[in-house]
Symmetry: C2
Subunit: 343 residues, 2 copies
C-alpha cells in the first residue's frame, strides 16, 4: 500500500532500488553511474535498463556528502549590480556560462554581492565548500573577495584582466589593446585626425589597455597625443554622455571619438545630437563590445566585437581544468571590427 495520492511527491527511487531491479549490487550501479569502468557489458546493460525503468536520478546531496565536491559552481558578481544588469554584455556572459556548464551537467548558482554584508555571507558560503569553483565578474579588479577566495584555495576564474600583476589568478579577457588599435586605425583610414577617446576606468586594465592602444596607433601615425581629447567613464550610458560633453567643450574640432563601451557610446550619441553634430558626417563614433546596445543605437554603432560566447566557454573550461588540479591560466581572445553606420 504505497502513498500514491495525486499532488503528493513520492519518494524517488534510490540506488538500492536500481540495484534490486537490475539484480546487481549497489557498488555495480555506482560504477555504472561513474563511468562504467570494471563493469561487464551484461551488468552495464541491466543497470541502464533498470535506471530507465525506475526513472532513477542520482541524489547529488548524498554524493556530495561523501565526495566532498558539490558539483555546482557559483557565478559571482561583486560589482554594483545596477550597472551590470543594465549592460547587455553581462547577460550574454551569464547565459554563455550557464549553458557551457549545463553541458557538463553542472548547475550554476547566481550570487550577487552588492552590500558588504552580502559579500561576507557569500564568501563564507563559498569557502565552506558549497561550490567547487567560482566564475567572477568584477571590474575594479583588485577585488577583496577575489583575494579572499584565492587565499582559501577556491578555484576561481575572472572575466577580464585583473589589476594586480603578480597574483596568480586565472582570467579570460578580450584583447583590449588590440581592439582599440583596430578601431583607431579604422577611424584614421576614414581621414579623421582629431580623434577623441572615452575610455574605461583608469584603475582597471580594460580602461588602461584601450587607452594604450589608442595612443599607440596615433603615435604610429605621427599624430601628437592631445590630453584634451582623452576622458574616461565607468562604462555606463550616463558617463558616456558626460564624457562627450567634456570632449566637445575642450576640443570642439573633434571629428571622431572612440568609446570604450557601446553603452557609453549611446550616451555619446545623445550628447552629440544635442550639440547638433551629425554622426558620422561631423563626428564618427566607434564603440566597444558589440553588445545589443550597438544595434539599438541610432545610428547603429561601428564597434569592436568582444567574443563573449567564447569568453564564457573559456571561463568554464579554465575553471573546470583548475578544479581538476591544473594551474591557473590566462586566456586572451581576439576581437573583431564590426562596421556599421556610425563611422
Amino acid at each position: 500500500m504505497t502513498m500514491n495520492a495525486a499532488g503528493g511527491r513520492r519518494r524517488p527511487p534510490t540506488i538500492h532500488d536500481v540495484a534490486r531491479e537490475a539484480g546487481v549490487s549497489r557498488g555495480t550501479v555506482s560504477r555504472v553511474l561513474n563511468g562504467g569502468h570494471y563493469v561487464s557489458p551484461a551488468a552495464q546493460e541491466a543497470v541502464n535498463a533498470a535506471i530507465r525503468r525506475t526513472g532513477y536520478v542520482v541524489n547529488r546531496h548524498a554524493r556530495s556528502l561523501i565526495t566532498g565536491r558539490s558539483d555546482s559552481i557559483g557565478f559571482l558578481l561583486t560589482e554594483p549590480q545596477e550597472r551590470f544588469f543594465e549592460d547587455p554584455n553581462f547577460n550574454v556572459l551569464l547565459r554563455g556560462c550557464t549553458q557551457a556548464l549545463a553541458a557538463h551537467d553542472i548547475p550554476l548558482l547566481l550570487m550577487l554581492a552588492g552590500t558588504e554584508d552580502e559579500r561576507r555571507r557569500i564568501a563564507r558560503y563559498i569557502t565552506a565548500g558549497h561550490v567547487d569553483g567560482v566564475l567572477l565578474v568584477s571590474s575594479h579588479s583588485a577585488d577583496p573577495v577575489a583575494e579572499e577566495l584565492r587565499e582559501a584555495g577556491v578555484p576561481l576564474v575572472q572575466c577580464g584582466k585583473p589589476m594586480g600583476r603578480g597574483s596568480k589568478v586565472s582570467y579570460v579577457a578580450a584583447d583590449d589593446r588590440d581592439g582599440a588599435r583596430d578601431m583607431v586605425r579604422h577611424l584614421l583610414s576614414l581621414g579623421r585626425r582629431r580623434i577623441g577617446i572615452v575610455t574605461g576606468p583608469l584603475d582597471s586594465p580594460g580602461g588602461v589597455d584601450r587607452l594604450a592602444g589608442y595612443k599607440e596607433i596615433l603615435t604610429e601615425a605621427g599624430l601628437a597625443i592631445d590630453e584634451r581629447l582623452i576622458v574616461s567613464g565607468d562604462y555606463s550610458r550616463a558617463s558616456g554622455e558626460a564624457g562627450a560633453e567634456r570632449l566637445l567643450a575642450r576640443a570642439p574640432d573633434m571629428d571622431a571619438v572612440f568609446v570604450a563601451s557601446d553603452l557609453m557610446a549611446q550616451g555619446v550619441l545623445t550628447a552629440l545630437e544635442r550639440a547638433g553634430r551629425r554622426v558620422p558626417q561631423d563626428v564618427a563614433v566607434g564603440g566597444f563590445d558589440d553588445s545589443s546596445a550597438a544595434l539599438a543605437a541610432r545610428p547603429q554603432l561601428t564597434t569592436i566585437r568582444q567574443p563573449y560566447d567564447r569568453i564564457s566557454a573559456e571561463m568554464v573550461r579554465v575553471l573546470l581544468a583548475q578544479i581538476g588540479g591544473e594551474d591557473p591560466a590566462a586566456v586572451i581572445l581576439p576581437t573583431e571590427l564590426v562596421k556599421r553606420e556610425s563611422t
Copy 2:
C-alpha cells in the same frame, strides 16, 4: 600533525567539532542551528561561541540528505533565450529574485531550457528533488514544462498570467488590462483619436489583456474599434518595427500608438523616424514595462511601469509559502503611468 600546507583546502569543521568545543552534544548544536528551541541560554551561548571560534558553516548536503529538502530554488527560463536576455525586464526580475532569496539564505540556480533536450534534462533534475521549488518565466503560457512540474507536485510560481484558465498554478503579474487602460486614457487626454496598438502575442494573456484594455477605453470614449489600427508582435524590437510599418500602411492617419513593450516601442520609433513622422508631434508613442529601454529610446518613452521589484519579491514570497504547504495563489500588482517625451 594536521595537513596545513598553503594552498590546500582544509577540511572544514563539523557539527561534531563544534559540540566538542562547546562541551555539549551534536543534538544540542543542531537545535541551536535550527531555531534554538529547548536549549538553555548557557548552552546556546556556548554553542554560538564555539561556532564563531571554529568558523563552522553547516554542510547543506548532509542536511539535505536527511531533511529531503535542498534549500535551493530554481529560476527557470523556458523561452527562446535570445529574446529574453535582450529584454532588460528579465534582468531586473532575475536580480530581484536572487536578492529576495538571498535574504532567506537560499541559493538560486539558473536554468535555461532552450532546446528540447535541455528541457528534459532540467525537468528530470527538478522532479528529482534537487530544488524545492521553481520560479518560472515563460510567456507562451501553456508551457509543457510547467504542466509536467505541476503534475509532479513541484511548487511553482509563474511570472505573468498563465493561459489555461482552470490550472491551479501560482502566478504574479502586473495588471495588464488596467495599465493599457491608463495609457489609452492618457493618449485620449492629449487629443489623439486615431490610436493604434501593437499588442503582444494573442496567444498570451499579456497580449490579450492589453488589447482588451485598449478596446475598452476607446469604446468608453465613443470611438469605433478599427481593426486596421490593431497589430500584434512578440515583444522584440524587430517585431515592433514591422508592426509600425503595417500600421502606417493601413492607417496613415494614425496619430498615436500604444505599444505593448518598450523594446517593441524602440522598433516603432525607428519605423516612424524612417517614415518621416515626428514623435510626439505627429504620432505619440506609449510603451509598456518602463524598462531601461524606455530611457535609452530617443525620445524617451512615456510608458506603463511594471513593478518588477515587487513582482520578484512576491514571486519569492508566494513560492516559499507554497513550499511551506500553502495553496497556490495569484497576485496582481498595480501599474503606473510614467510620462516622458514620446507623448
